[in-house]
Amino acid sequence: MGADKRVVVADDGFMLFALTGILGFLAPVLILIALGGIGYGIAKLKAKLGIAKLKARRRALRGQSSEPSGELPQLRDTTAREAADHAAGAVGSARPSSTATPRGPGRDGWAIETHGLTKWFGARVAVDDVELLVPRGSAFGYLGPNGAGKTTLIRVLLGLTRADGGTMSVLGLPVPAERGRALARVGAIVDAPGFHAHLTGRENLKILACARGGEAHGHIGPALERSRLTQRADDKVSTYSMGMRQRLGLAACLLGDPQLLILDEPMNGLDPAGMREMRDMIRCLVEEGRTVMLSSHLLDEVERTCDQVAIVDGGSVIRQGPIDELIGQAGAAVEVQCSDPPAAARSLGQLSVAAGIALTEHGLTVTLTPGQPQEKADEITRRLVEAGISVHGIRVVRASLEDWFLSVTSRLEEEQ
């Protein structure tokens, strides 16, 4: 009745059968593995060749940038952006390493630390020799234009994709060696957070809590409350708006009571009120002693939210440091409305605080040297009054993060 009653045909031979059978089954698997190995080897070789080319290019650029520019600000139509441009140039180089000084790592080291981190996609470098230091207990902005490599760096940090070179640590733990331990205290949103649309928000969090283990289940309620989703927690995610999904993503981040939150474009899809709420929440999380690293191309939001920033372009970090310090380097300008602009320009030309003077339709604009713009504006006012020039109005124009960012990235484009 069963298979045991079947007559076994022995003419093929058990050994022959076994050998051909095993080899026959294994052959496709072995071929797949061999093809994969060859492909991987070729990709590695390409990456190495690419890295060699890149290093050569970088050496060449560094050689160029070490030469002094010799240019000083000229008398020209100066805007705040140009003031920032000037300051960025004064800082230095074509593709410098980080120039500003990140605040110290704190007692427990850096929240994120990378050295020479590199990631290739074929022949294109997405993360290029990144040296990044994110201090603990701060809001850190990772800024860059679209395609600059922000999301790729985050994916590498989180172990979502492998790095091709360099070292990194998260919360003091080397990654990927101790990835599991490191990520136990990390919450992250990468791109738009995805959820099972057929489940409710609470059920999705339950699944993630199961994956996290520990006390994550106990954090579901508070996380929903904090994300203002309690009322809709038992509705299916398919009925959620983009902003609500973003908030659910944030709730998912909070399940593990994270020391570090990595948020990739967290303001995407949020209306102005939602952006403000997100900003407030980030600040609140930082005040609780957590570290928040967010990537964004919304410079205004980053300027309002973050303490420190790193600027990334073409996969490389080109500047990093506290925002105040970086913008401070960019300097400022003073717009003056007065009775005799040409005379005022001649008078102010002797002042050490003026890096450049430009006549405008209603007066003149004075580009200031870096540091303490208000004091320098006062000095300008005094000098004009002493020279007998009537001052109708004077206004300090500070460079914004956006001005500084655009000046730095556009400078790099020109140099490339």
Partner: protein
């Protein structure tokens, strides 16, 4: 070791926790369309089949035998196996790829949980949805066969209750094994391809069209390769009462010369383990 350390060690483990398996069960169970198909293909098939037979028998007993005739048992189990295989592939592919297609996989990886554990959790989760319902469907079949069978003809040797139970158990285990094969192959292929629809279509084509085409005739010098087709191994492992369900020169079986039981076991285990290994490897190496 600190509490933090304990949590971390457990999270790095490749073994899936019960909670993780439960989470996957929740995900599958809440897919209402999938669950409806599961119930229909497992319990619905024998209920409808026997229902129609019973109605026709009651309407015209002279022409239609009772629902639980022995020949009907073989037919319905074969039918359930065909539907069940498709269902198993669908469930396996869903369990394997829904996290990827919904964007949830990335979130799960970010928790720091081992990717192997994430993969392995899908196996008991999917099977715990599939097998109990399949068993329920088979139980319906067994009960109908046991209680709504035709009375023995004069002189007919009636098998003992023990022999009948053994035959039913053998058929039931074969049926469940067939579904396990479908599930694991569907799971592995879906994880490999990162999607659900194409693997389901491919495996249905494989099972319904390619396997019969490749196994219905002996190809000279390639008979051992033909024996590596899992459908052939399952067909040869099929208990004799089930093989009687279909007609043909092979007595209900493909025409490949029989292979020893251990060889069938190797082929079937090879397919299960091989596809699970491929799925686990892809899960480990996939960019999230």
């Amino acid at each position: 070791m600190t509490q933090y350390g304990l949590v971390a060690v457990r999270r790095a483990s490749w073994r899936p926790s019960l909670a993780l398996i439960g989470a996957k069960v929740l995900d599958l169970r809440k897919r209402s369309v999938l669950m409806a198909i599961t119930v229909a293909f497992t319990v619905g098939v024998p209920v409808i089949f026997y229902g129609i037979r019973e109605i026709t028998h009651l309407a015209d007993p002279a022409h239609y035998g009772p629902a639980g005739a022995t020949s009907a048992f073989a037919t319905v189990v074969t039918l359930m196996a065909e539907f069940g295989f498709i269902l198993a592939v669908l469930l396996g592919a869903t369990a394997g790829a829904d996290d990827l297609t919904d964007g949830m996989f990335r979130q799960l990886v970010i928790t720091g949980r081992s990717r192997v554990a994430l993969f392995l959790a899908r196996i008991p989760a999917g099977l715990s949805v599939l097998l109990p319902l399949a068993a329920a469907g088979f139980t319906v079949t067994a009960l109908v066969t046991g209680f709504l069978n035709s009375p023995p003809a004069p002189g007919e040797v009636v098998p003992s209750a023990g022999a009948l139970a053994a035959a039913l158990t053998e058929a039931g285990l074969w049926f469940e094994l067939y579904l396990v094969v479908g599930f694991t192959v569907g799971l592995g292929l879906a994880v490999l391809m990162g999607q659900r629809t194409v693997p389901v279509v491919l495996l249905i084509v494989w099972e319904i069209i390619l396997t019969p085409a490749l196994a219905d005739h002996v190809i000279p010098h390639l008979v051992n390769v033909q024996r590596l087709i899992v459908g052939v191994a399952m067909d040869q492992l099929k208990p004799a009462p089930l093989a009687a369900a279909s007609v043909g020169p092979g007595g209900g079986r493909f025409l490949i010369p029989p292979m020893p039981t251990w060889a069938m076991a190797v082929v079937i285990a090879g397919w299960i383990i091989g596809w699970l290994a491929i799925g686990a490897w892809r899960m480990l190496t996939r960019d999230a």
